[in-house]
């Protein structure tokens, strides 16, 4: 079945034997992928814990949270958190989730593990860079965590770190002295790690595809990782300069972002002439593409997994890839829609609004194609496929609200309200994480050699699916009522009647968060006790299912894969009586 060549048994680098080279400073993309996954898992539970604390405080601001005073005596004397501690948690929640979870899990983790396998390569193009990129990211994570342990605590300027709040230092408030500097350094380090990763992904995709693996035959998630890496390369190459300028403003006395005549805490700041809007432009030039860095890999993963369980080909494979590229391209023209009310030239609002609205075209096409792929399917309902279907649902929900926020006139009212929080959590966070969950249930057997527990997986899906709607759908209502985001308490007369909604959201968040421990348990338990997985348990076509489970060090055990088909050959009648044809099968797929 496979084109083999015994003489090509060598890997680019030989398999290491020592524990450190094997599991810690490994050059193997599979180990690095798992390391990224582990880091994202650690980060997501920290981030979720922070959101629990925030939600508890928002629902019941006067209640002392047990043990919180032990965690931070300064931030929560007697267990009731101070406003600045709330903002610290909020900043860290956003930063950890966006950078260390949504960038790491769907892109770096799964991409590292499966991109080389899916294109038939033995490893990434530059394994040493690959290792460096993970450890750089890990170092960034440590620096970020260090902010929890400095006297003032983590920064309070939000994950967007708007200048001059983030730039002037301690006079602007607690956490803005050492904590904010650590934040900026951590993000700068993270940028370097991500740039190395993106470079590797691009070179690997371009140069290491095996024989027959034309770009047209590449699986959709490989396409998504490739497009994402191009976006990431350009986006992080802009965030890094922004962070350097911010660090200089904070430590070297320059005035890139700090204008003249600011008086903070009765002190006239020794700066002049800087432009706060410059930071916003640089940040959002990165920030908006970052949204697609988070979501595109998950779109790719869903496009990859859904046909496997629908037992029919993905509708419009070329249009799918085209839409991904279009989204990537458009993502660089829309950053200003985050700044409609920022005081930039009001004419530019229309300029940014039109391409923003145009992104809905490829996004709508993707959604319709996914829906069309579900049509007439013989669906196999597994944890993975349920999360794919859930992805479609939340992607619609999150995408629709984009229609509102893309319009400057409506954004005047909805900007900085919970409507925005609902929008980006649905479309960026929840949708992306649904892709990660689908990917985990789907690829876990390949990565560990064992199946995950389906019953627990389905329970996890139902609690999560209903839970996220219970959390984020009411936030739209709050936003419509003008509920401002990033408030540590609601003291305004018109916000007080909305507190019951916040209580409901808090309860939903606690329950949904608790459901994630089912996932964690399933992950750990199945790793050791799950039933042994076969080579191709889901009857999928792509290359990762043509090799042993888990794959050997050089991915294909010395074989050189030759690809004859695209990844989309489902619902066909193969010669051996199956309904799918492997990419490596020399059998010619019937023309559809």
């Amino acid at each position: 079945m496979h084109e083999t060549s015994a003489s090509h048994a060598a890997h680019q680098h030989t398999a290491p034997t020592s524990f450190i080279r094997k599991h810690v400073f490994s050059l193997d993309h599979k180990v690095i992928g798992k390391q990224y996954y582990g880091l994202a898992l650690l980060a997501v539970f920290i981030g979720m814990g922070l959101s629990w604390l925030m939600r508890l405080h928002l629902g019941w601001p006067a209640w002392p949270i047990p043990l919180l005073d032990k965690l931070s005596a300064v931030g929560a004397p007697s267990g009731v958190m101070t406003p600045e501690y709330y903002l610290s948690l909020m900043t860290m929640h956003g930063t950890i989730m966006v950078f260390f979870v949504l960038t790491n899990a769907p892109f770096a983790a799964f991409g590292n593990y499966f991109l080389p396998i899916q294109i038939g390569a033995e490893d990434m193009a530059f394994p040493r860079f690959n290792m460096m990129s993970f450890w750089t990211t890990f170092m960034a994570f440590l620096v970020m965590m260090a902010a929890f342990f400095v006297t003032d605590g983590p920064p309070i300027s939000g994950w967007t770190a708007y200048a001059p709040l983030s730039a002037v230092g301690g006079d602007a408030g607690p956490g803005l002295k050492v904590g904010q500097t650590l934040w900026a350094i951590s993000i700068a380090i993270f940028c370097i790690g991500s740039l190395l990763g993106a470079l590797n992904f691009i070179a690997t995709t371009l140069d290491l595809r095996t024989k027959g693996m034309s770009l047209a035959r590449m699986p959709y998630c490989s396409w998504a990782w490739f497009v994402t890496s191009v976006i990431a390369l350009l986006a992080f190459a802009v965030l890094l300069p922004a962070c350097i300028l911010l660090i200089l403003d904070r430590t070297a006395g320059t005035s890139f972002f700090i204008p003249a005549g600011l008086v903070l805490s009765d002190k006239l700041q020794p700066h002049s002439g800087g432009s706060p809007l410059l930071w916003q432009h640089l940040f959002w030039f990165f920030g908006h593409p970052e949204v697609y860095i988070a979501i595109l890999p998950s779109i790719g993963i869903v496009c990859h997994i859904l046909p496997v369980f629908a037992r029919k080909p993905l509708l419009g494979p070329r249009a799918t890839v085209g839409c991904m590229i279009a989204i990537g391209f458009l993502s660089y023209m829309v950053w200003g829609h985050h700044m409609f009310v920022s005081g930039m030239n009001p004419f530019s609002a229309t300029l940014f609004s039109v391409p923003t609205l145009f992104i809905t075209v490829p996004a709508t096409i993707l959604t319709l194609l996914l829906l069309g792929s579900v049509y007439g399917a013989k669906m196999r309902f597994t944890s993975a496929s349920l999360f794919c279907l859930g992805f479609i649902s939340v992607f619609i929900s999150g995408g629709i609200s984009g229609f509102f926020l893309a319009q400057p006139s409506i954004d005047i009212y909805l900007h900085a309200t919970y409507f925005v929080v609902a929008h980006f959590h649905f479309v960026m966070a929840v949708a992306s994480l649904f892709g990660v969950f689908a990917g985990t249930y789907f690829w876990f057997p390949k990565m560990t050699g064992r199946m995950m527990n389906e019953a627990l997986g389905k329970l996890h899906f139902w609690l999560t699916f209903i839970g996220v709607y219970a959390i984020f759908m009411p936030m739209h209502y709050l936003g419509l009522a003008g509920n401002v985001r990033r408030y540590s308490a609601f003291v305004d007369d018109y916000l007080i009647p909305l507190i019951p909604v916040h209580k409901f959201i808090t309860i939903a968040a606690l329950l949904t968060g608790a459901a994630q421990f089912i996932f964690l348990f399933n992950l750990i338990w199945s790793r050791f006790k799950g039933p042994i997985a076969s080579e191709n348990p889901w009857e999928a076509t792509s290359l990762e299912w043509s090799t042993a489970t888990p794959p050997p060090f050089d991915n294909f055990g010395g074989k050189h894969m030759v690809v004859y088909n695209g990844p989309n050959e489902y619902g066909v009648e193969s010669r051996d009586g199956k309904d799918f044809i492997m990419q490596t099968s020399p059998e010619k797929a019937p023309a559809s």
């Binding site: 140069d207 290491l208 190459a237 320059t254 410059l278």
Partner: protein, 228 residues
């Protein structure tokens, strides 16, 4: 900036990393089985790296333009003349690099005629590479002179946005250049060890980087000359 801390030539080692490789599986052979090639990836990677660096400097450039327009506090100052001399030195280093590449590229041909002449070519190529590194170092030292010149005028990093950007651009460029020199020594070591065989991809990847650094400097100089 992204790749500054890493020697840009480092990836070329991966081609022949692992000595257990069977002799018949050379990068050239992979070219037959793959659309792209193993040998290609160093150059691909370098082009990608170079575009990321270019993007970063584009971001800095737009930051500078926005910052200059944002306020009236921009003070022009005379660029130190040593910069123009430095530019010539850096451009010369590109020439020496190309001379070296010519020698090394000619080696396989020469080897067919006489083994001795190939060796001489390698020695000659390496000599030009050392000269390239030396010119790079002189350039960086020259930049330091320019800094001292500015400092003597009382212009420091935080004095004025114009001086901030001057120090920023020159420092970042110098850091990239020093990183490139790290890569150059890596390539050199490989060349010496392997006797010049199969190292052309590393050298050509490095040359992409080095020429780009040249171009980048010329661009920065023009930009600074216009804005200062």
């Amino acid at each position: 900036m992204a790749t500054t801390t890493l020697p840009p030539g480092a990836e070329i080692t991966l081609d022949d990393h692992g000595s257990g490789k069977p002799p018949e599986r050379t990068p050239r052979q992979r070219q037959v089985t793959m659309p792209g090639s193993q040998a290609q990836k160093s150059e691909t990677g370098m082009w990608v790296a170079v575009s990321a660096i270019g993007m970063s400097f584009a971001a800095f450039t737009s930051a500078m333009i926005v910052r200059q327009d944002a306020s009236t506090d921009w003070q022009r100052f005379q660029l130190p003349h040593v910069l123009y001399l430095n530019t010539l030195i850096l451009l010369a280093s590109s020439v020496t690099l190309e001379l070296s590449r010519q020698r090394i590229a000619a080696m396989p041909d020469a080897a067919r005629h006489a083994a001795g002449s190939a060796k001489a070519l390698l020695a000659n190529g390496i000599y030009w590479l050392y000269l390239t590194a030396a010119l790079g170092l002189i350039f960086v030292l020259g930049q330091l002179l320019a800094w001292r010149n500015l400092a003597a005028q009382g212009l420091f990093l935080a004095t004025n946005p114009s001086s901030s950007f001057f120090y920023l651009f020159t420092a970042l460029h110098a850091v990239h250049l020093l990183g490139g020199m790290g890569g150059l020594f890596y390539v050199l070591r490989k060349l010496v060890r392997s006797g010049g065989a199969g190292e052309t991809s590393g050298l050509s990847a490095f040359s992409i980087y080095w020429h780009f650094m040249d171009l980048l400097w010329v661009y920065l100089l023009l930009l600074l000359a216009m804005r200062m």
